[in-house]
Subunit: 157 residues, 2 copies
DNA sequence: CCTGCTTTGTTGCAATTGCAACAAATTTCT
DNA sequence: AGAAATTTGTTGCAATTGCAACAAAGCAGG
């Protein structure tokens, strides 16, 4: 085996991320909260200017369920979490806009989600290790920078 | 914000793992190779004694597609990658057994998969960082130890 | 042996997803 | 301006998935 350490690192990384997601997802459901892909959409909208994004942009920025944005949006709309608004300058375009309820749900989900992160993840790591991990993740994936996007704040998915 | 560094670490971890998986999955498909969940099953069987596992065990050990093992197995069986074998001691039980073709496909997939890991992951990290990451992943997730399982070798998913 | 209880794998059904075809609006090019 | 190409969101269809009901086989205790 050649540079087996890199491959081992990937294996551990892959297993840990998959399992932790399963744990979180299951715990959220157990608390009657929607799956994380809903959180993903709500939080993506919340960061956007005016809490609104065109469907195409939403599809590009969202992490999970990249296709079928239309259908996921339809579901969220029925639950009153987002609203549609036709784009005035381009009559093809449609904006998805976060509603009050959507904002509230995002916060409620984050309350529980952040607890889970703390419990299953952060609490096992020293501050130094957290720094190391952040640095390493930056090296293997740089999310494209969007001029308009707010970040910092709480729940980055 | 409280211990925001832990949450930031999770966010970066989550985004990187999700995006990298998407990249790998897409690249595999582009090369006409099956999705990684197939790799997952084949590799899980290959590590097992006799290259065989009861369906229940398979379902527990596999990372992706944990439910519907029956149906995924059915598909793999049709492609000649695994075989069914009734368990002699317990007539409820069914073994999934890796075939020659299954073994070969696993290796072929690994050839490409390991290239992708190198390209998108390992090559961005120093040896020291790889060590750090392994240590950190061990702290946030310990996969249960199975007495019989072989590991070490190549592609741990 | 007989009665419940658990384990194991399968199956039916409804919901979700991926993909490709599609129509409407816009842009590009001549 | 007009034809061709591109972008944007929707829709139909087939494949996949999650869930719960189910039957068959084993197990525990009388």
């Amino acid at each position: 085996m050649n540079n087996s350490k890199g491959l081992e690192a990937w294996a551990k990384f892959f297993v840990a991320s998959t399992r932790l997601n399963q744990v979180m997802e299951e715990a959220m459901k157990l608390d009657g909260l929607p799956p994380l892909e809903v959180y993903d959409v709500l939080w993506t909208l919340e960061r956007a200017p005016e809490h609104a994004l065109r469907f195409t942009d939403l599809g590009e920025r969202v992490l999970l369920s990249r296709c079928n944005v239309t259908r996921l949006a339809e579901k969220l709309e029925n639950q009153g979490l987002i609203e549609r608004e036709r784009c005035p300058s381009d009559r093809r375009g449609v904006y998805a806009v976060l509603t009050k309820d959507g904002l509230k749900l995002r916060k409620d989900m984050w309350k529980r989600y952040s607890e889970l992160i703390e419990e299953h993840f952060s609490s096992h790591l020293s501050e130094k290790e957290q720094d190391q991990l952040i640095a390493i993740m930056k090296k293997v994936w740089q999310e494209p920078v969007r001029a308009d996007e707010k970040n910092g704040c709480p729940g980055a998915v």
